[in-house]
Every structure is written in structure tokens, then in C-alpha cells.
Symmetry: C2
Subunit: 104 residues, 2 copies
């Protein structure tokens, strides 16, 4: 079963640049790992709720594939003082896309 | 600019079925709206951090398209007693996909 890691981050402004830089370097640890599908790092625009400055959404082929990479590895971004992470593993229960454009 | 709504929900067990049912009905309010691209509702598997029982990730063509729908409409799921929502608007700052499979 495909699994989705959704990791919500509180990132103090003083360490924001460091956080993004380390996140990008962390990618190299798993982008070629078996079972990795894709990941997106999102930055809060500040236009609505600002509880979380960054959210990472990553899809993996299975829980086992995810765990094989992260069992002994805490991503560097989570080790930065002041950064608080909530890394949950989720399954998709509903998916809706926009209807196809009307060709008329 | 494409915008991503990431809404993290605390959902008490007693209202979980009601939450999912109302979320599905809410979809009908915007799935045909101009600028809506796609949405996924995720349920926590309980295998890692369990702070948020559900997370909705929705993509829209623009902030304006999103606001046109939600300016005067609070989704029903957020009106259920006990449900706490953090609806933030995000932009993608990094996107990485797995390398193409080795054809050899």
C-alpha cells in the first residue's frame, strides 16, 4: 500500500535558511532509495493559518520502503534547534480531481 | 501561481465518521469550481506521529480561485465540535521525484 509522509514543521525565522538547505541535502539520502516516489516541500504563504511554516509531503510505495531509509536516520532539518516536526504516516482515504474540461 | 491548501485536523474518535462523511459532501461545493485542481484526504495510520488524525492536501490554480469558494463558506467538517483545523496556504519550494527506472 502506498504511504504518504506528511511532516508539519514549526521553523523559527532565524534558522529558516538553514532548514531549507539541509532539507535539500537530505533529499540525496533517499531520492534513489527503493520505493521512493516523490516529495514536495511547501512553504507557508502567510495568507491564512500560519501554525506551520513548512510542510513536507512525500509518497512511498510502502511503509517498509520508508522505514528502510529512516529507521536509523533522523533528517538533518529536524535536528536544528527550535525546529519542531510532526512526521505522520498517512493513507489516502479520498481523492478528487477536477472534472475534465468541457471540450465544447 | 498554483497554491496548496494543507489542512491538518485533530479529530476526536467519537466524531470521526461524521467528519469523513461531511468532508465528502463538502467536496461537492468546490469540485466544479474554476481553478480547482485536485484534493486528497489522508488518514493517519498510527504508525508514527499521531498529532493529526486527518490531513487534507488540495491544489488550486491561484489564491483568488481558492478564496472565491471559501470566502463565505466554512467547510462543514470544521464546524464539528471537537475538530481542530489548521488550514494553511502553501507554495511548493522544492519538488523531487524518483529517478526513472533503469531500463537495463
Amino acid at each position: 500500500m502506498t504511504i504518504t509522509l506528511i511532516n508539519t514543521f514549526v521553523v523559527p525565522a532565524a534558522v529558516e535558511a538553514e532548514f531549507v538547505a539541509t532539507w535539500r541535502s537530505t533529499i540525496d539520502h533517499f531520492r534513489t532509495a527503493p520505493g521512493f516516489i516523490e516529495t514536495r516541500l511547501h512553504r507557508n504563504t502567510g495568507l491564512q493559518d500560519t501554525t506551520y511554516g513548512y510542510v513536507n509531503v512525500a509518497r512511498w510505495e510502502s511503509v517498509a520502503a520508508y522505514r528502510a531509509v529512516f529507521e536509523d536516520f533522523v533528517p538533518a532539518g529536524q535536528r536544528i534547534p527550535g525546529v519542531v516536526a510532526h512526521p505522520g504516516l498517512f493513507e489516502v482515504v479520498a481523492e478528487v480531481t477536477a472534472p475534465a474540461a468541457d471540450p465544447s
